[in-house]
Symmetry: C2
Subunit: 170 residues, 2 copies
């Protein structure tokens, strides 16, 4: 069914579907990795003295939650995560439990994806929320799609790190 | 000038320009990181018993070189890299020097980018080289643009790892 849907897409729709597919892929991989680890494994560092997996999971949750605002898709769900996972480095404040992060992770991504689906290809090329209309007129590359690709890249960057700490299968 | 060029772009062209910009960004970052490290630093592991930076640099060079074939953009420049950096894990064969990898890295990316510029938006939606025309008819998401995003993601994944081994600025 997925394939048949694609056949009827316009080029514009195909471009956007490709970008969203790339986003879904990293979200699925991060989720599968983290949900498959126990609390002790989640507290493993990705490398000596570097971030713990649980911190990176919360960090990605917070950054993605902020996408509601950056993409002008409504109120974000968990602004309280920023103080723990964005403005402070790992080990500066106690982290929420993995169950709490998992719940935020699921909620944020389900809701984000459903709002992505409401945007037309042209709306993806509208300005993002961190740029004024005047700035956007001077630099039309600062659109929503650029944010989506940027956050996708950011998630792959951290997934690469998290995978280093993944315990080997027995 | 860059900005003015963008203004006159069609939505299709903007989509592609955004994807290429995302690709350039990670290529620039990997290049700047690796070219800024000395031989000893390049031989540092990204985490205990994990790949060395130099290996990952060569790995990305080989994967990107293979894009000439996968994107059907002509002959690849360095097929000899595959045996060292794709089919074999790190530490199984002696690595080329960093100067040799740097030369391949520069050559591959200069040439790739110049060929990217020859493709129209619709050509980016044509099948990639690892899929037959029949398969592509059944699954039109297997186009060149999907390869570009996939390789961009792959590079961000490894950049995240390489950054862990980057020596702190004094």
């Amino acid at each position: 069914m997925h394939e048949r849907t694609q056949v009827t897409m316009t080029p514009d729709q195909l471009f956007i579907a490709t970008a969203i597919s790339s986003w879904r892929q990293v979200v699925t991989r991060v989720g599968a990795l983290c949900l498959g680890l126990n609390e002790e494994q989640l507290l493993g560092e990705v490398a000596p003295e570097k971030n713990r997996i649980l911190y990176l999971w919360g960090h990605l949750t917070a950054i993605h939650d902020a996408m509601f605002s950056v993409l002008r898709l409504g109120e974000r769900l968990h602004p309280e995560l920023d103080a723990i996972f964005i403005t402070q480095p790992d080990r500066s404040t106690p982290l929420p439990t993995s169950a709490q992060i998992a719940k935020c992770w699921e909620g944020v991504h389900t809701e984000l994806l459903s709002r992505f689906m409401t945007l037309s290809p042209n709306e993806w090329l509208e300005r993002h929320g961190n740029v004024s209309a005047e700035e956007f007129e001077r630099n039309p590359t600062r659109h929503r799609l650029a944010v989506l690709l940027n956050r996708t890249n950011h998630a792959w960057y951290h997934l690469g790190q998290m995978m280093l700490a993944k315990p080997k299968a027995p």
